[in-house]
């Protein structure tokens, strides 16, 4: 417990690929105690596992290390600690890369911690042999018959080991597959010394983490009434101003763009929501129907009243399995009669493939005429005669060769189809892997997480 209040915890990265200006401006443009950075989507783990299988030094979020190079001098000067899930499937390599950057910058007296134990890919045969069936939560099927297709397997771990690392004095905490809110839960648990069975406090911290985990999506990004959001180019990333009693304020640095209102915060509360009464994390079950939101000044929303109940005895496991191959390609069709010509183009592709003995099931092929209302099909009125459309074609199959054969029939339409076909860019569509997710549960006692720490003196 540091005794300071409020504690300021920001999220500067909602996903791998988010604007790098988020973290850079957060550390530079105002006070901050913790900067959290979220790099891992579900599909990212399988990509990282593949990179690691090709090179023992790969398998973590390399953007994170480049980011640290930009922000660490400011973080060191201001005492800002960094918590990220950038370790992917290779925590020790990520730690080594971070240490190399710290040394390159000439910064000393920094402790770098990694949290390990979430990656159970290598343990799957042993777990299955020991009676863990890892049944798919949707289909009920056991994992064993699909073991050869597994690309990655990670347990969604909670905030505890991250908080342990902070208690041991870590300045940079790097985890693998932790739940997104854990990055915020850990500093709140550490700073306020709350008990790990104080379910209301854990639920509060979890919801704080949920609100900020997608970066600017709670500060005016993706907001329905977008015309009212000022200066989106300079949108401020979110800051949790956390208090000892479990309440918190969502805000952003002064003089940044964007908007923090009850509406922008409520919007993000609903993002990727299931049953609001039972938001499950490894640390707590949070009840979103207890949340109270109220305005607390310009770009400030107070969040309070949150209740939680005990965590479940299991961890959720995210297992990525290879489910075949897919490819998509696109062309732009100019008018007149853009729609009729685009429809003809699609028909030609399927017929030419059939002429070469390549057929796809109905649900394995896709045609979209972008510009004729593909996102809101059947809902919004489509324009009767758009000046141009983008034709998107796609296929999916367990047969990679068939998918690659499809990719060869897009470009020929430019010279052997109707007139006005253009916009063939990016080369021939190639087959890429279809990754499916196999959600399963694993008893918590089967997983041990641990902290590894190294100090740059």
């Amino acid at each position: 417990m540091s005794g300071r209040e409020p504690v300021l915890i920001a999220n500067g990265q909602g996903f791998w690929g988010d604007s790098i200006l988020g973290p850079v401006r957060l550390v530079r443009e105002g006070p901050l105690h913790y900067l959290t950075l979220d790099y891992l989507a579900e599909v990212t783990m399988s990509i990282l596992q593949k990179l690691r299988s090709r090179s023992p030094d790969a398998g973590y979020a390399t953007d994170f290390v480049r980011m640290l190079e930009r922000i660490l001098p400011t973080c060191k000067a201001k005492g800002i600690k960094v918590i990220a899930n950038a370790a992917g499937v290779n925590p020790s390599a990520c730690r080594a890369a971070v240490i190399a950057v710290v040394k390159k910058l000439g910064i000393t007296g920094l402790k770098i911690a990694t949290v390990e134990g979430d990656d159970i890919l290598a343990r799957l045969p042993e777990l299955i042999a020991g009676g863990e069936e890892l049944r798919n939560m949707d289909s009920g099927k056991p994992l064993a018959p699909r073991l050869a297709d597994v690309q990655s397997a990670n347990v969604y771990i909670g905030a505890r080991s991250l908080a342990d690392a902070l208690a041991e004095g870590a300045d940079i905490v790097i985890a693998g597959r932790v739940t997104d809110p854990s990055l915020v839960v850990a500093p709140m648990m550490h700073e306020f010394g709350w008990a790990w069975d104080d379910w209301d406090k854990l639920a509060s911290a979890t919801i704080a983490g949920h609100i900020v985990e997608c970066g600017a999506q709670c500060t005016g990004g993706n907001f329905t009434r977008w015309r009212e959001v000022p200066d989106m180019a300079r949108i401020g990333y979110p800051i949790v101003e956390a208090y000892q009693d479990g309440s918190f304020v969502i805000t952003k640095h002064p003089n940044t763009g964007g908007l923090v209102t009850v509406e922008t915060v409520a919007s993000q509360l609903l993002y990727e929501m299931g049953d609001p009464k039972r938001y499950l994390t490894p640390d707590v079950v949070a009840d979103f129907t207890t949340i109270q939101l109220e305005p607390a000044g310009k770009d400030r929303v107070r969040v309070s009243g949150i209740r939680g109940t005990p965590a479940t005895p299991t961890y959720k496991v995210s297992i990525a399995v290879l489910d075949g191959w897919k490819a998509t390609g696109q062309l732009t069709i100019a008018g007149p009669e853009a729609v009729a010509k685009a429809e003809l183009c699609a028909k030609i592709v399927w017929e030419r493939l059939k002429l070469d003995g390549v057929g796809f099931e109905r649900d394995e092929q896709m045609v979209e005429l972008v510009g004729t209302n593909v996102c809101h099909a059947g809902i919004a009125a489509a324009p009767s005669e758009p000046a141009e459309v983008v034709l998107r074609l796609g296929v999916r199959s367990t047969d990679r060769a068939k998918v690659d054969r499809f990719g060869m029939e897009i470009a020929p339409l430019v010279t052997s189809g109707p007139p006005g076909v253009t916009g063939f860019a990016g080369g021939r569509p190639q087959a890429t892997e279809v990754i499916g997710f196999w959600p399963a549960l694993l008893k918590k006692e089967m997983v041990t997480t641990r902290v590894a720490m190294e100090e740059v003196r």
């Binding site: 509406e263 990525a320 075949g324 809101h376 809902i379 997710f437």
Partner: protein, 113 residues
């Protein structure tokens, strides 16, 4: 009288397995109470009939005046299997706001419309 749902509420959506979730948040209590009555899973399923191939479930969050809908099988495959442009249901929230809602005589449309 009919009004667009966008006059009564705002929204956000994202992916949830092979389905999407659409959060609809009312601008005021009267609109929320009305939506609890009329914005049924059956109506939402009909509205998204060309997109949602599975069941529609609804959860109530009166504390933030929100209804949360789960649109099962609405992305053309879960994980990375989808071939659609909107593989994550990012636009389903705005799609919901096109709905026409019958409001009772004398109903005060919220100030944000």
């Amino acid at each position: 009288m009919k009004v667009r749902l966008s006059q009564l509420a705002y929204s956000r959506s994202g992916d949830k397995g092979d389905g999407s979730n659409v959060g609809v948040i009312a601008y005021d209590r009267a609109s929320y109470d009305l939506l609890v009555r009329v914005l049924t899973p059956a109506l939402v399923k009909r509205h998204f009939q060309d997109i949602c191939k599975g069941e529609v479930e609804r959860y109530e969050m009166p504390n933030v005046l929100a209804l949360n809908f789960i649109l099962r099988d609405s992305l053309g495959g879960g994980g990375s299997a989808s071939l659609k442009t909107d593989a994550q249901g990012k636009t389903h929230g705005l799609g919901m706001l096109y709905l026409e809602i019958e409001v009772p005589a004398g109903f005060q449309v919220p100030k944000y419309s």
